[in-house]
Structures are given as C-alpha cells and as structure tokens.
Amino acid sequence: MESDEIVAFFTKAMDDDPDLSAAIAAIQTLIEFIKLSSADTLVELRERLKRAIETVTNTDSSVTSVSSGCELFLRFITLTALDQTDFQQCKKIMVERGKVFLETVASSRDKIAKLAVPFITDGATILLHSKSRVILHTLVAAARANKRFQVYVTESCPDRSGLEMQRRLHQAGVPCTLILDAAIGYIMEKVDLVMVGAEGVVESGGIINKIGTCTLAVCAAQMNKPLYTLAESFKFVRMYPLNQHDLPNEFKYSATVLKSNSDSELLAAHPQVDYTPPAFITLIFTDLGILTPSAVSDELIKLYL
C-alpha cells in the first residue's frame, strides 16, 4: 500500500463517519495496511508499519492522539507469541489482535460516559471548552438519563469549534450557551464544574488540549471549581513536558503549516494546542477507570512495560 493510498484510506474513513476519532481511523488504516502488505518478515513489516504511521501522522488531523494510538496499537499486536513458522499465519494473528484492539477502543466512549454521568448532578451548570466528541457522548447519555443541567461552551478561536459543539448539543436537547473565550473569568462563579476533552494525556498526568485549556484550568483552580478531563486510554502519550516550551512543533501546528514555514516563521504562527499541568486537573475519566493525575504514570507503566 503506497503512502497516497494510505492517506486516501485514512481520509475516507474520517469522512465516512465524522464522529470517528482520528486515532481509530488511523488504526483501521494500519490494519488494512497489514492485510495488504507484501512484507516477508516481521522486521520488514514493523519497519513498513512505522513508515505508514509517519504518513498518517503527517496529515492535518489531531497528531497527538493519532501518534499515541498507533504506538499503543503497534505494541498490542506485537506483544503476542508470534513464533509460527508461516509468516502469513503471523500476519493473520496480528490482524485479529488488531481487530480486538479496535473493538476495545471503540467501546471506550461508552465506558467513559458511564463513569462520568454520576458526576453530573441534577441542576448542575457545566463549562466546556471547544468541541469534544467524548464530552458530547457523555452529555447526551446524561440527558437520556433524565438529568437536568445547563451548559456553557467557549467559542474557542481560531477555528470557532465551540459553535459546532453548541449545534450538536442543541440537537440532543441540552440547553447550551456560547460564550467568548475571554469571558471565562466572568462565567466561572456561575458554574459548578468544568469538563474538557484531551488530545493527549502525558506521563506527568497533565493534558494536551485545544489552546485555551490551560487558561481555563488555572481560572477553575483559583476559583475552586473541579476540572474533569474525559479521555480514552489510547490517548496516553509517553512524553513528559515540563512547560509549554517542551511541546514538540508537530503537536502544536498542523502539518501544512509546518511544511510551508521555516523555523523562524513558525514563531509567528499560532499554536493549536497547549499543555495543562497536572496540578490544575482534578480527575481524569478514562475507559480504564477514574484516575487522579498521579495515577496516569501508573497506567502508562502498565501499558508500556
């Protein structure tokens, strides 16, 4: 499978189902790649898979979750006894394990919704930042469980994705008000809890999310409002940023911006994500359970060692 075919399959998977997480679409692409691969040995297949992963992460989708999802997928499928003599048999086992991985991952949003709904009390006011499909799924589940709650969403410039979130919440029958990004300090006294999604959860327990999350987190911590992060476990990244500067450029800017700008021009471009330190996060809801930020390292050690 050539790189343009990989990109085509990936973009088609994303377009077919807009609710699909970019990481899941990437994993589907990789399973297809393994099936069609003409590699003869495990080492060659692994090398080609790594190059395919690079191709997929070079598209304009969410790089953080795609790269962490692919990394975990690669570990999962190779972490079995692949001592068959027939390589085609090995490939079949890898594809089957890949499908098992995909099934567990696909059900993660339901598990998260089930864990998070009890934290939305009746009559609660929730503040959201930008668009997150996991949060949408959870709030729809809470609405179906006949909970009454009110939602404020930040508009989230530069792409104004908060508007899309408001539209989807209205469709689900949840009362939702759009606020300016600058109005976070103003609205904070009215809300009971803050919920954000994540593009990546790092080893320190902090999160990488749409730009503006760090500001929201600092404001919430100062005014003693809990901040809950909802993220699937494939978003756990083996990275340890100490501050905003430590985020790699590939996460901050989209692929097209990186290709067209040199290093000095990048300073003028605006980053799309920021890093929120673990001190400002109350709890992280994942399909592995409800974790405190310090437990993320524990889970990562279990996943990777």
């Binding site: 080893e203 320190s204 340890y240 100490l242 501050n243 310090s294 390292s297 060692l305």
Partner: protein
C-alpha cells in the same frame, strides 16, 4: 540551569550534554559546612562547561535567571518525598515559587520503602565542630562549655513531592508520586 551541591550522577549528565554540543550554562550552588560543590565545580570546569558558583544564601538573587534546577538524591521515599543533602528542599521551594522546573536524577536502587514527612523524625547528625571552624573571631570557641547552647549539623533533608516536577531514573521519567509503582514492579521482578 542550576544544580545543588555534589553528585557524580549530575556531573556525568552535564558532561555528557556538553559532549553532545548542547549550549548551556551551569550555576553550582554550595553550602557550608561540607562545601561539596567545589569538587563538582572543579570537574565541570575541567571538562569545559561554563560555570558560576555561589552559596545557598544568594539563591533568591540568581533564581530569576535559571531555566531548570537539577538535584541529586540520596533516597526516594515511598510517599514521594526526596531525601537529599541538607539545603535541597530550600532550593526546590524557591524554584517552585519562581515557577522553575525541578528535576531530580535518581537511580531506582535508591528507592526505599520508608515513609517520612519531615527531616527530624530520622536524620543523620554531622560533627557540630564543623559549624564553628570558619569563624574569624573566636565567638563559638567555647561552645562546649555553654550548657544552654546546642550546635545542630543536620546532614539530610526531605523535599515534598509538590516541589519536584519530574524524577529521572534509568527506567524512564516518572512523577514523584510514582515511586511506589516502581517499587511494586521491581518487587514483582525480583520475587
């Protein structure tokens, strides 16, 4: 970059970074009575690293210029506290107040199952005579005769995990709170 007192591990880290052509400046902070920082300073300068040297009472002056703080450790306790040379917790506290990341470099064999929240419950006492030697005027020369005077020379102190951003070990970078996780994994491996 600032580092405290002496640690062969940190000297190696800095020398390796220098060999890899990284551009950085080191500030070595030292404290009485041991003045161990001088040995580290000597080794770094011999290697060619640009260094500054100051005593611990001037740290608040220099901290706005510091990008990272590197500390060695004598032990890492099970509740995430770092036991290190006396003075380390002061530096970590100051770094936290100025939003400077604190990195502790520690091998996993130094992880211990003991729990301690302060430096008094269990510590080592150094020679109280060391505190007297440096004075030009002999004010404390008869300190042994004064019954109301006690000289206290503590060797170690404990730094709470809130002041430490990351612990770097040979198995990876972990937050301070993950020490019991590593201990558990190692116990499983050895048993």
């Amino acid at each position: 970059m600032q580092r405290y007192s002496s640690s062969s591990l940190i000297t190696k880290v800095l020398c390796d970074a220098y060999d890899k052509n990284k551009k950085f400046r080191v500030i070595v902070v030292d404290a009485r009575p041991k003045l161990e920082g001088k040995e580290m300073l000597r080794r770094l300068i011999k290697h060619g690293v640009t260094c500054s040297y100051l005593l611990i009472n001037a740290v608040s002056y220099i901290i706005p210029e510091v990008s990272k703080v590197l500390l060695g450790a004598h032990a890492l306790l099970a509740n995430g506290y770092v036991m290190s040379r006396c003075g380390s917790s002061q530096i970590a506290l100051l770094a936290k107040a100025y939003n400077v990341p604190v990195l502790v470099c520690c091998e996993t064999y130094k992880f211990c199952e003991r729990v301690q929240t302060d430096a008094f419950v269990c510590n080592e006492l150094g020679d109280p005579g060391d505190l007297v030697t440096n004075s030009k005027t002999e004010h404390l020369s008869n300190w042994r005769d004064l019954s109301s005077l006690n000289l206290l020379n503590l060797v170690y102190d404990v730094t709470p995990p809130d002041f430490v951003n990351v612990v770097i070990t040979e198995v990876g970078t972990i937050p301070c709170t993950s020490v019991p996780v590593v201990l558990r994994v190692k116990n499983v491996e050895t048993s």
